[in-house]
């Protein structure tokens, strides 16, 4: 056990995590050169293509140092704020972490968020500056930032060219402590990830803290109390490779005939079924969706395919929630819950790529806790369930961290204030870079906060957040009424102070998008019975410029006669169908 090193790499998107992992695999001969493709451990095409790593595959490597062989287990942390809980569980499985910072970009908010998570887990941190080969590398500046952060000089590497990578591995072996634990003690293993395979069922990824696990043994998952017989255990090479047993300190997988991935929860503890009283490892939390939106197939006939897609994705994604719903404007669809906006984007993209279904997404919202007039407490994640009247409502707040060059400070503060943010902490990382913390309602950032932030900082600011708590709020359901009928799919929950602004904006957008009719169409935004914004679309006049050829004069005449008739009944309100395209253009890019 003293020769095992469990570690992860903390890095911002694009800072070179996958490339560094590739060098590790080469240097340790884990993969022969001919098996190498770029960014081996990025498992999804989507990841490789977007150049972002959502989560790398874990891998076990061997390395000879000072005459001894070491086992190096690299456990990845997903590189996005949506998955901070998963990050914390991955880090909990390690004793050390490499903090990788791009020499051309410097420290970013997300890196800091994950660094703090690692420090909370008491991990040994090895700071590293990457991309030192690039002409625009600002090694001195970034070195200074890192020293400010953790009071230590970073190593310098170029993962692309392999500079300093061997030294980094050896430094890690020297500094990261070996795991502790006792193979003779009752089994205690942390689930840090899980994956569903068609033939073998759920493969759970574990780090053993105590005890031993082998095929034939009965294990129990602490959160559910369900027991299973172990069918196979093994290591990641990075493919799964069978072995006789896994022992305390080791990282590997267990296959135990689990059929439903939601039962193999990240953060849960695996124990010996014959010793069910074994305590759980700390820090377990259920993966709870934070962001909710309606998913509707662009073509109604794709509904069964969309359903199939969601079920399939759910097999491998315990955090994805969904249930069927119906919208008069959009037809049958699903109300879905996600960890965050990126999670939602990924699901949408995978539905499109892997199942060929295009979806329309309604305005996303967070979950509200509402005390109703009759004293009941309800949880609302869909605008249509939000009551007109209530006693109290609570919405989730987050702690957001932003790092920016100081010249954009004013812009960003303004943006954050507009989003009901409260500044908490403020600190210079170096003379040009500012770090600050805000408390913000999650609802205010799930829409386009990130885009706005990038645009007011010309792309320089970085941003991260974590859930704080539910706080009292003055939320209202904003409805949109077109020609006297409420368009349910457009309803949204907003803070009362934003209702007028958003209502006005959407009413104006609708005015542009809804085709004119022979009768006047009114568009209203309303809170309960109160109309807060209104527009009218003037009735169509006879379009004398329309072509009159091909000889179908009868139709033209009848149209004319009908319009004449229509003018007489001007007051009558006709039905207006909201075209799907109009709907899309309205929900797209709020603000």
């Amino acid at each position: 056990m003293k020769n095992i090193r469990n570690f992860s790499i903390i890095a911002h998107i694009d800072h070179g995590k996958s490339t560094l992992a590739d060098r590790f695999l080469e240097i340790t001969d884990t993969l022969r050169a001919r098996d190498m493709k770029e960014q081996v451990l990025d498992s999804m095409d989507l990841e490789r293509e977007k150049g972002i790593t959502i989560k790398m595959h874990p891998v076990r490597m061997r390395y000879k140092y000072n005459g001894e062989e070491y086992i190096l287990n690299l456990i990845d942390t997903p590189g996005h704020v949506d998955f901070s809980y998963e990050v914390s569980r991955s880090l909990a499985a390690c004793e050390g972490a490499i903090l990788l910072v791009d020499a051309t970009q410097g420290v970013e908010a997300q890196t800091i968020a994950n660094l703090y998570l690692a420090l909370e887990q008491n991990l040994e941190i090895i700071p590293v500056i990457n991309k030192i080969d690039l002409p625009n590398a600002q090694i001195g500046k970034v070195e200074h930032q890192i020293e400010e952060l953790i009071g230590e000089k970073p190593l310098k590497v170029s993962a692309k060219l392999g500079w300093g990578v061997k030294e980094l591995i050896e430094e890690m072996i020297k500094r990261v402590p070996p795991p502790e634990g006792d193979p003779q003690e009752p089994l205690k293993a942390l689930i840090f990830d899980a994956n569903y395979e068609d033939y073998r069922g759920v493969v759970i990824y574990v780090r053993l803290f105590d005890g031993t696990v082998k095929p034939g043994m009965k294990i129990m998952l602490k959160s559910s109390g369900l027991s299973y017989e172990v069918m196979e255990v093994g290591y990641f090479t990075p493919e799964t490779e069978k072995t006789k047993e896994l022992k305390a300190g080791e990282v590997g997988y267990i296959i135990a005939g689990i059929k439903d991935i939601t039962l193999a929860r990240v953060g849960d503890t695996v124990v010996d079924a014959s010793k069910p009283e074994t305590p759980s490892l700390p820090g377990y939390r259920e993966a709870k969706p934070m962001v909710f939106a309606g998913f509707y197939p662009t073509l109604s006939s794709d509904y069964p395919l969309l359903e199939k897609a969601l079920y399939k994705l759910k097999l491998n994604d315990a955090a994805l929630h969904f249930q069927g719903e119906y919208s008069p404007a959009l037809g049958p669809g699903f109300r879905c819950g996600f960890l965050g906006m990126l999670h939602m984007e990924i699901v949408k993209e995978r539905i499109k790529r892997e199942f060929g279904v295009e979806v329309v997404i309604t305005t996303p919202n967070v979950e509200y806790k509402v005390k109703t007039k009759d004293g009941k407490e309800i949880v609302v994640d869909s605008p249509k369930e939000f009551p007109d009247h209530y006693l109290e409502a609570y919405e989730p707040y987050v702690l957001a961290e932003i790092i920016t060059p100081k010249e954009f400070l004013g812009n960003i503060q303004q943006l954050v204030m507009k989003r009901r943010g409260i500044q908490r902490k403020f600190q210079f990382l170096d003379e040009n870079t500012v770090y600050f913390e805000f408390e913000l309602p999650l609802q205010e950032i799930i829409f386009d906060f990130y885009d706005r932030l990038k645009s007011v900082s010309r792309g320089y600011a970085s941003f991260d957040y974590e859930f704080l708590e539910f706080r009292k709020t003055d939320a209202v359901r904003l409805d949109f009424i077109v020609a006297g009928e409420r368009v349910e799919a457009l309803s949204m929950i907003v803070h009362r102070s934003n209702a007028y602004r958003i209502g006005r904006k959407i009413v104006e957008k609708l005015k542009r998008e809804i085709p004119r009719h022979l009768f006047e169409v009114t568009i209203q935004a309303a809170i309960g019975n109160k109309i807060i914004a209104k527009e009218r679309i003037a009735p169509l006049r006879k379009d004398v410029t329309a072509k009159c050829y091909g000889g179908d004069i009868t139709r033209k005449r009848k149209l004319l006669e009908k319009q004449k008739e229509g003018k007489r009944r001007m007051k009558k309100i006709g039905r207006v169908e909201l075209p799907q395209e109009a709907f899309l253009n309205v929900v797209r890019a709020e603000d």
Binding site: R512, R516, V544, T545, A546, G550, G551, I553, R557, E561
Partner: protein, 329 residues
């Protein structure tokens, strides 16, 4: 002798449906040609009995160039055998830039076609794509020059305005491109929407639409085109004789599915419209309607006032009647 009529032939085939189009069309296929010819023969037999003569012939669609030249030739020859179309003053065929081949052009010459109408619609690639057109700007130029080379001296370009994404600037650009090509005739139609179109592409801003309408007139009249109908411009002497038959309330016969006609049957003013089904067309199913004097008058007003000539008013009684009707519209 009775005045000659206009003859219209609807070729109901298109390789691709444009996003805004509601004209009847189906995808070209051998079996459908046979149905089509079957219906056509029945119609021709029916109209032969009236002994009409024709001085204009307009072949539209659909996309007349989407069917093989040989099929096109057969169809026209069948019509020539049955109807009196030997002394045509104007013989037009509509073409789509991308499907017009050299064989088509040779054939058009052979058949005596003397006017070509090109569905150009716009000279901006993105706009063409947005409209669902299957051709690019290059195709328009290519088709146009080929037709000129082959000696066609009367060419129309169809242009469209008033769709989403189009601006006054982009319309202006398209018109400038048209003017440079110098066709004899230009139709600029504002996009309308009818049920059955793939998408409603209409621009929703009436102010911009009005300005576009004016822009057409300004740019085209500055370049020597005269507006003789709301949406049609021509160099003097190149007004479309066939389309004027519709607008001047004259008689015409339409052949092909979804085509309409207007003729005098004894004392009755008859309008008819053919079915939009290929199968039913083969059985010559159509709807008839006899115009009442009021209906006739309404048409007289809304058709003729589209043109620069307007309505000629003779006598007090007619004047009064017209006035009453105008107030009613």
């Amino acid at each position: 002798m009775r005045k000659p009529l206009g003859l219209y032939l609807h070729i109901p085939f298109c390789n691709q449906k444009c996003n805004y189009c509601t004209f009847f069309s189906v995808t070209p296929a051998e079996e459908l040609y046979n149905l089509y010819v079957k219906g056509l023969r029945r119609e021709l037999k029916f109209f032969k009995q009236f002994g009409f003569t024709f001085d204009t012939f307009f072949v539209g669609g659909g996309t007349p160039t989407s069917i093989p030249p040989k099929v096109f030739e057969d169809i026209i020859k069948i019509i020539m055998e049955e109807l009196a179309i030997e002394s045509l003053k104007e013989f037009t065929v509509e073409v789509n830039p991308e499907s017009l081949t050299d064989d088509h052009i040779v054939l058009f010459k052979d058949l005596g076609i003397n006017r070509i109408s090109i569905g150009a619609q716009s000279f901006i690639e993105e706009e063409l794509r947005f409209l669902g057109r299957s051709h690019g700007v290059k195709d328009i130029h290519k088709a146009y020059y080929k037709l000129r080379e082959a000696g066609f001296k009367n060419i129309n370009l169809d242009i469209m305005f008033g769709f989403k994404g189009q601006s006054l600037k982009s319309l202006g650009y398209t018109l400038e491109q048209v003017i440079q090509l110098a066709p004899e005739h230009i139709s600029t139609y504002s996009l309308s929407y009818e049920k059955g179109a793939i998408k409603d592409l209409r621009l929703n801003d009436e102010q911009v639409l009005a300005s576009m309408f004016t822009l057409n007139k300004t740019l085209l009249e500055n370049s020597g085109y005269l507006r003789y109908e709301i949406s049609n411009y021509a160099k003097p002497g190149f007004e479309s004789l066939h389309n004027l038959k519709y607008w001047m309330h004259n008689f015409y016969i339409g052949l092909g599915p979804s085509a309409s006609g207007y003729y005098l049957n004894g004392k009755d003013l008859l309008r008819y419209k053919n079915t939009r089904s290929m199968v039913k067309y083969a059985k010559m199913e159509r709807e008839y309607e006899t115009l009442s004097p009021e209906e006739w008058l309404l048409e007289e007003i809304f058709l003729k006032t589209r043109t620069k000539w307007g309505i000629e008013v003779k006598g007090e009684r007619i004047r009064k009647k017209l006035k009453r009707n105008l107030e009613n519209i």
